[in-house]
Symmetry: C2
Subunit: 302 residues, 2 copies
């Protein structure tokens, strides 16, 4: 098959060294891939390097990595703000740049010219299905989405979604790559906005938003019901705290607009944010952190 | 307050000795309440007695009850097919009769005449909000829903939902009663079809049904994604197996009718049922029981 390497993917460029880009790059390097982080200028590159360095304590804490293991990962990483240089030997470019269509269209058009013919492109976009950008890539058969979760080293799913034009052999190579870097590949057989996880999660969160928004049940009551009823370690409002209230508000606004079913929820969330309760990262949301009530043994008892 | 006992509820009649009625009755008796099981004739009463006797092994296995403790519960139980006799001293009648509106309307009209003025009525209905039957009771201020889950001794929630006419003191007495019989009371402040748990669960199950129905993702992929992404012990398709495929099909039919989004799901479920795969109780559903794949340690690893 023309231009597609059937051997493993070893040389990888991650475009965009933000929160998720830096994690994707480091996790790949940690698992032995040769990784270049590309970002738009030296300042952005320096910020990416800083983000990667800050992963050390998390890898040590969460997956018991040793300093030696972490350093071996660092040795597989290089950085560049020159796109042509960054992708010149790449088997795979993983795109993790901002979620703005115009930025992504421009990026893929530049990348199409800069990258060798063999290079597979994968977008980490959480919002856009791959057909949105397939034509920009100049290689729709070698383009698909590969979507990671935050804290990739422990939330280790890679949701993989192609277009009708994606070559099945390319798809399979990406599934293999996901496994090689310690991910559980989540295979989607068709394009689906939200992939699998958000397709499931958002209706649950919306239902919870409705119950609280309309004063039918308290957040803690909702979470308790979910935890007892399904055995889950946290309920929807604890998940809102993890997601962050601003993100929850933005997603609800975008998806629900002026839908009166969700207006009370959005107003209540805004009020919490006005009080500085922005979710887990702010120490206050529906629960107080650390040691939130839902983690205490008595939470499910009364 | 006229006619409402402000002391604890001790004398309880459970109307309907089916699967859930027998569990509600026995759990109440196990926790020291004096309970009468009412059913429509001697045959139905005998079947209820048999169901209660069969709970022994489950209480021993799941909550380490001793034979002595189980027997003490049995001693608090009596049975009757005479409604007037069964409710004559009742502080509370819990109705767990078939989910047919005409049957329930008739029952509440008869009960209204047979029960003392003081008696509180609570419906275990999973489908109908309490205002549906409030007028039939002749005492809308002493009527509300109290909804239990199957396997009440371990899935110990009681979802409590009044109407605008329900006396808050009656509501509080029922919350206390729920606690006294070992339940976690789930308080709803307004009527909501599906209470809290099904309001949350059904959108999640529908989303999963959509993903599989439209061949976007396999059941095991969906479940794996949910388990890794939320830490839950089972995913939506494992829940379908517990619910039973016939029930899942009936609920989807009732709620979605001819909605093309859910038609492929319903056809696929029907095909599974035609093959004898009816869910966990049949040993085969989306998984094979016992020892389903999702319970194995490698399920989340690849």
């Amino acid at each position: 098959m023309k231009g597609v390497s059937m051997t493993n993917i070893n040389m990888v460029t991650v475009a965009g060294g933000g929160v998720l880009g830096s994690q994707i790059a480091y996790q790949s390097a940690f698992k032995g891939k040769k990784v270049t982080v590309y970002d738009i200028n030296d300042e952005a590159v320096a910020a990416a390097e800083e983000r990667v360095r800050n992963l050390r304590d998390l890898y040590k804490r969460d997956i018991n990595a040793t300093d030696e293991q972490f350093d071996a990962g660092l040795n597989n990483l290089s950085y560049s703000s020159d796109l042509a240089e960054a992708v010149k030997d790449a088997d795979l470019v993983i795109e993790a740049i901002p979620e703005k269509p115009s930025i992504k269209h421009d990026f893929y058009r530049s990348l199409a010219k800069a990258a060798p013919e063999k290079t597979i492109f994968a977008s980490n976009s959480s919002t856009y299905v791959p057909s949105t950008f397939a034509e920009d890539t100049g290689r729709p058969d070698k383009f698909l989405n590969m979507h990671f979760a935050n804290q990739i080293w422990r939330m280790n799913t890679a949701e993989i979604m192609g277009t009708k034009q994606t070559d099945p052999k390319v798809f399979d190579l990406i599934v293999d790559y996901a496994k090689e870097i310690g991910m559980v590949p989540i295979v989607l057989k068709k394009e689906q906005p939200g992939y699998v996880l958000n397709t499931l999660l958002i209706p649950l969160l919306n239902a919870a938003a409705y119950l609280w928004g309309h004063d039918i049940a308290d957040p803690q009551t909702v979470d308790k019901t979910w935890m007892i009823g399904t055995g889950a370690p946290m309920g929807p409002f604890a998940i809102f705290d993890v997601v962050g209230l601003r993100t929850a508000l933005n997603i609800t606004k975008e998806q629900q607009g002026d839908n009166p079913d969700y207006k009370p929820f959005m107003e209540k969330i805004q009020k919490m944010m006005d009080e500085g309760r922005n979710g887990k990262d702010s120490g206050q949301g529906f629960y107080t952190y650390p040691d939130p009530a839902f983690d205490r043994p008595d939470f499910l008892k009364a």
